[in-house]
Amino acid sequence: MSRPVPALRLYRGLLCLYPAEFRDRFARDMCDAMADLLSDHPPATDILSAYFGVLIDALKEHYHVIRQDLVYALRSMRKEKLATAVAVVVLALGIGSTTAIFSLFNGMLLRPLPYPQQESLVYVEEFTPGGQLRGAVAYPNFLDFRERNRSLQDMAMFGSGLATLRGDAEAERIPAAGATGAIFRILGVAPLLGRVFDDADAAEKAAPVVVLGEDLWRRRYGADPGILGKSIVLGSTATQVIGVMPRGFHFPDRAQLWTPYQLSPLRNKRTDHGIEAIARLRPGASAEQAQTDLRAIMEQITREHPTETYRQTVNVVPYRERNTRQIEPVLFTLLGAVAFVLLIACANIVNLLLVRASARSREIAVRGALGASRSRLVRQFLVESALLGGAGTLGGILFAWGAVPALLSLAPANLLPNWMSFTPNLVMLGFVAAVSVATVLVVGVAPALSSSRLNIVETLKEGGRSNTAGSARAWFRSSLVIAEVALSVLLLAGAGMMVRTFWNLSAQGASYRGQDVITFQTSAPGNRYPNGPAARELVASARREFASVPGVLSVAGSTFVPLLDGWGRSFTAENGPQLSLKDAPLINHVVVTPGYFRTLGLPLVEGRDFDEHDAKDPLVTIVDEGIAKRYWPGQSAIGKRVRYGPPEDNEPWHTVIGVVPVERNQNLRELRRNSVYLPHGEFGFSSVGYLIRTAPGLADPMPALRAKLAAIDKSIAISRVITLKEVVNTVVWQERFFATVFVGFGALALVLALVGLYGVMSYAVSRRRHEMGIRLALGATAGEIRRMILLQSGRLVAAGLVLGTVGAVFLTRVLETQLYGVRPGDPATLAAVAALLAAAALIASYAPARKATRVDPMLALRDE
């Protein structure tokens, strides 16, 4: 070799860019050629070209190598089409379900809210630990918070509901929101047209104004550029349009128009909690600091107004939690569950690739003997798993694309606020890429390392079978199957418990679900039907007209739909303990017309239903059994007197004339409040809801009912048409969602574990063909062989079941808050899961066991 010249040393250094194998083979010759070239003193351009050429040609070599790896990988994948297809499908399911769940997680919890600097928006609520009070703030308390706090920049109150638009087109109920003047300042979103309302518009005698949403402006008003200043009829009030908000703004959830709240401490008392509050933190303040601040203020208020407070405290949380706090634990649990599914899928692929590596060990040994370096072999395997991973990721994305809308459809339509978006964004794509790469590495590394560590000489000598590396590998594969079985037990146990929860909860609502009752809300113009005789007559006519529709069995009016709404008020029984406001229980206060109980199928336990004469004199009420038993145990409740509201208000006494069974209201899980009922005649509200019981099998009665109502008065709007069956479904949507997803995951896990078990057993049988042949030749029966194989598989499954069951006892505690009627670690569920898995495993192992008995002893012995 010529003396190394600095130029040559540089050249040799550049050769490090080449792939290792190329370098090992040609580096010396290239240096020799370069030395010879330099010794001829060529022109500078030639020398430069020689140096730069290394960069280009090294890249080309790398490309060449990868292309070879790809071609080789594709060829071996084509040779085993079934195994490859299974692997891709398994990966697609694992990656796809993980992506789908993360997509929900991303859309609900990670994506920023569509308001500027949304991190400093907080939600303020008064809160009693018993859960009777939450999600609202009383107006006088709000004023005190706003005045005395040191951590908030500004505060506003808001509420959502439905507004009735009247006028040129037909009456329409639109999702709407009201708020105090500071709301738009706090949210920081500028209007598309005109202006937003402020404190001046929220003052006592200010003229009514409204801000429209862009969608509403386009749809109902044809994007009229002269809309500003025009007057529209909201409810029964002429209201001036002052601005239009841009598309995508629907604060708080789905609103399409906004009006200012005109609140006053006289009307909105310290004991009324029907409106929510939002605030913006001062720069540098945190939600925790604001919470401490407001809690101190709440304590002051409690001291200053002891008869007007419930011993409540204050929560200040990031505004996003208002919508997500219910769903957050659900999502985290789902993420955990889907991670298990992905792990099982990966374990399956690893098993598959290890089988393939085993089957190809001869070929690998030959390649090693021919000079392929270990890193080259490892890279080959990684390329193969990258191909599988890439195909699996594509399949997974397709799966997620379909799965996300399907999952979202399990949630009620009006649950998710409009600002939640589930379209892919950078975070999503980053997640998919990360999961994909991680999967490829996890799945590719084990087979790659184990194959590259092959003892070449041994393998070639023994024809590629039964070497020590092989048995270590077999042990590893068995433990993978055990892990898969264990994880499946976990998922199936979770699924079993969620399904039972759903069933138990649904059973609670069975009395509602079993009935054909349809409900809807009405909204009559207040100026024509003020509360009183006109309204009473309207409701009475409506009931008569509805009852005349063929197929209608029973009609009633009510202020609230069971399970969906309620009005909590405090309650005092005459001659009972005179409790202060904070100790008085809250009851569910419903105003109904005669026929309510009959329509809902609630038989009277005692006394009578309201009739058409019950109004203001005498004042009567009906209570539920829970109240009757609690306050007048062992006696009849009939004739007892009760009253409502804060005791200091001295509301008039009502006499109990009837007792009805307890009705679950607001939710099915627990009875939070007992119910009391008052006759519609006492109040005469005009805008009530109606419940209509129809004959079974009747086609949609709504058109006929709408026609009847329109015949009475066209300007009465109908909204929220929903059957009681749908109400129950809405109320249990979370449990149904959970149960469905868990069952899906559990089934997936089961199938994957069985596939893994089948694969391992098949391979084990094929490796023991020689042994089977000898046994059969020595007189073993088919039954004995079968038992032997099933025992081998049984040991694996048993190990997995034990591990999984123990894990389930601990891990299902995570689900505790979601369960109903079943405890975590419930033995019956675990036993059922174990039995299911054992049975399925038996079936999966049967085919390989039978194959073992089909070995021809002569062939097996000869096959060496």
Binding site: R25, R28, D29, D32, S39, A50, G53
Partner: protein, 117 residues
């Protein structure tokens, strides 16, 4: 394999085959031969040369010989390469292909016919 399966050859490959047709050579000798034969029009870099050699070894067009002393370079050892029989067939096939192309061009008058000496 049929020699014609590898056609058309990359021009570097053909040059190298031609260089090895009359005798065994080492890397730099091939470069020199090609430069000389083409009057400096084609000057391969060492890196391009060895990329091509790598391919040609894989395809069986040439074979590696043991290192031998090179008198032209103080008898320092260099690795020599030799054309295989298959390589020779491929080179001939490529030459024939080029000849045919040239004949086609001559036939249509695109290129003047060879003048007889």
């Amino acid at each position: 394999m049929d020699p014609r399966d590898l056609l058309p050859l990359h021009k570097d490959t053909f040059h190298i085959l031609v260089a090895l047709a009359d005798r065994d050579r080492h890397g730099y000798s091939i470069l020199q031969d090609i430069a000389a034969r083409t009057d400096g029009r084609t000057k391969l870099r060492p890196s391009s040369l060895y990329s091509a050699i790598h391919r040609m070894l894989e395809d069986g067009l040439i074979e590696e010989l043991d290192e031998r002393p090179d008198p032209a370079h103080d008898d320092e050892r260099r690795r020599y390469y030799r054309l295989t029989a298959f390589g020779r067939d491929v080179a001939v096939a490529e030459a024939r292909r080029l000849e045919q192309l040239l004949a086609d061009a001559r036939a249509t008058g695109l290129v003047p016919k060879r003048s007889t000496r």
